[in-house]
Symmetry: C2
Subunit: 391 residues, 2 copies
């Protein structure tokens, strides 16, 4: 186990009707004037925005709104938000939505007090030294952004989709998590989220760091819970218990509770970011295509963890002299599970018949360097083979 | 799942040599003058105290020390500490030790700024509204006090051992966790700690709250990790990986990561507190006696969770029409495991041939009311039967 630090200062307020506490929580964390960031009009149609506005009015905190954030959020909206916030003396960001909305709000929060171009943070030209406070009302579980200090933004010029990690400044001050808000999510978004959280777990679990049994067991517990609860959500989108378990698993999967002292990988995420940046597909659906391909390659080249994954998570019988076969059976069960939820498990099912693999490989290594990942450090030739395994 | 809030603001700094960061962390969290609280002389003999003092000197923060805190810490030391802290203008408590030391430091931290008797907090006459900051250098894992907002103190007059929960004010600001500091722990203390953390998990896991699969799976993962790592620690007390996994499991077991949205029970802890208050035995050793007895009673009267525990944690084959038998087989494997670590599993092995069960029952219900616990609410007659099961 490696040395590490862990801190999860975000106040998670979980359960029914918790959005009515928005005003009280904004006040607690120093909001004077709020910019509410959101996505499409669903929070308007459902009445959620109105309930949040009522809650803010009840504590006399003024606010303005900025809607229209799209999936795979882009720099253009961040620039707009920074400008808008500065002109209106905003001191607090309230993100109402899923990962795209939260990530945009975090980027705005870091950008407002910074004199340079906010993109400097994403391309490692500058470090976040301060940021406005961000509060969250989560409507789409899985991104994990509600508990993490991370944000992912795509630069439209060149379609560079880059993640930034600044936990000291970009963890939300509070996150309101009401599972009933997820009842009306389209199935496609629900399952993309489920896939995303499973891969968030995997980016930690597939590590070469030894002696991390406690972390491994927490990861395996989270996988098991998701595998059990996901079909219930599909069968009945209004199953509160199943929605609640999935929502909380998505947070724990990404706030480093399960990942202490392990070298993380993030290779599948990096490979997927290129797919969604170029083809504008849902992040979770891109992951369900690329992760099994990556894992298949690992079963051949670094079988230790894929073997454990097959045995402990998918109950494949252990056969120590046939590790690759056991691992592949685990991957087959994973793909079967994702297919049963309606997720694509190859490019064709994702609607991309002939992906431009040259372009994906080129952009991946431009953004991430000659070698990508840590569970295995992959060259261009190797990432090409993995993209091809996903055909 | 019930509504809940979760927040873990403590900065955990985990790994080798991390005690050298004590000075830097004290400065970060506003220490001007520090009272170092510790237990026996082992931290003096091992040189740990000296390393911590050097670290504080390197950042020019003055400190005074107060040693001699005993297991099952008592109010007398708290009064002494409050007095000492006030006279010396202390604004920061640094606890170097295990649960008893940390719990004493927390009680002092709450008592210093309070005009009344600090015991008011423990007997529900007053609420903690402010407290000095507390930092921790953990030397005995398991109490969980390094991550929780809880403290347990015994009032010498009447031997009332009472716990207080005030997470808003009593969570440590930082906790330094260096597994190598636990290499020299006597085996008796090591295994008592292992038992304590397993029962901390259990006080959450054994709940009637439904639809808590994610929490259940995290709990089961923690049990599994501890069951795997504990024998390694016994075989080789200097096994860094095993010590590290145990140390982190002990924290996660008690910072509510695994317990969100569940009604907790704490019955075994309450029953044990009477044993250790009266007979001054190690808390963990008292738990290894009373918890299996409690669980045996539950197998008969509320079998649902003991059955799941047997199947998922102890790999007992499921037989749905013989739930009690399956549950009892799980309990038998638990006792066998604890015995293999050298823990007592009945009063006799604890060295108490004829416990005064009348007195234990009387004090338990005096302190906790007519009915005790929540997985089952137990009357005097029932807690008596459980104490008798532990003979």
């Amino acid at each position: 186990m490696n040395n590490f630090t862990f801190q999860s200062p975000t106040e998670f307020v979980f359960g029914k009707d918790t959005e009515n506490k928005t005003g009280e929580l904004c006040r607690k964390y120093g909001a004077k004037k709020i910019l509410i960031v959101y996505g499409g009009g669903s929070i308007v149609r459902s009445g959620l925005l109105q309930r949040i506005e009522s809650s803010l009015k009840s504590v006399d905190i003024p606010f303005i709104t900025m809607g229209g954030i799209q999936p795979n959020p882009v720099d253009k909206e961040v620039y707009k938000g920074i400008d808008f916030a500065r002109k209106n003396d905003i001191n607090f960001l309230l993100a109402v939505g899923g990962g795209s909305v939260i990530d945009t709000a975090k980027a705005i929060a870091a950008g407002v007090p910074y004199e340079g171009d906010f993109w400097d943070f994403y391309c490692n030209k500058a470090k976040v030294e301060k940021a406005l406070n961000v509060g969250v009302v989560l409507t789409i579980p899985a991104a994990g952004s509600e508990g993490s200090g991370n944000t992912v933004i795509t630069k439209l010029d060149g379609l560079h989709k880059i993640s930034l990690r600044a936990p000291e400044h970009l963890r939300p001050t509070f996150s309101i998590m009401n599972p009933t808000l997820t009842f009306t999510l389209p199935q496609k978004q629900t399952v993309a989220g489920i896939c995303d959280m499973m891969v968030h777990i995997s980016e930690r679990y597939f590590t070469n760091t030894e002696e991390v049994e406690t972390g491994d067991r927490i990861c395996e517990g989270l996988y098991k819970a998701i595998i059990e609860e996901a079909p219930k959500v599909i069968a009945n989108p209004r199953d509160y218990g199943a929605r609640a378990n999935i929502m909380w698993a998505g947070m724990v999967a990404h706030n480093w509770t399960s990942a202490f002292g392990m070298q993380e990988c993030w290779c599948s995420h990096f490979m997927e970011h290129e797919i969604s940046a170029v083809y504008n597909v849902t992040h979770g659906a891109g992951l369900s295509v690329i992760f099994p391909a990556w894992l298949t390659y690992m079963a051949k080249h670094n079988v230790h963890k894929p073997y454990q994954f097959a045995i402990r998570v998918w109950d494949v019988p252990a056969i120590s002299n046939l590790k690759e076969e056991v691992a592949l059976e685990g991957i087959s069960r994973l793909k079967q599970f994702w297919s049963s939820l309606g997720l694509p498990v190859n490019f064709k099912e994702l609607g991309i018949e002939n992906p431009d693999i040259d372009l994906l490989v080129k952009k991946l290594h431009e953004n991430k360097g000659e070698l990508v990942g840590s569970y295995m450090q992959l060259s261009k030739e190797e990432t090409r083979q993995i993209y091809e395994l996903a055909l």
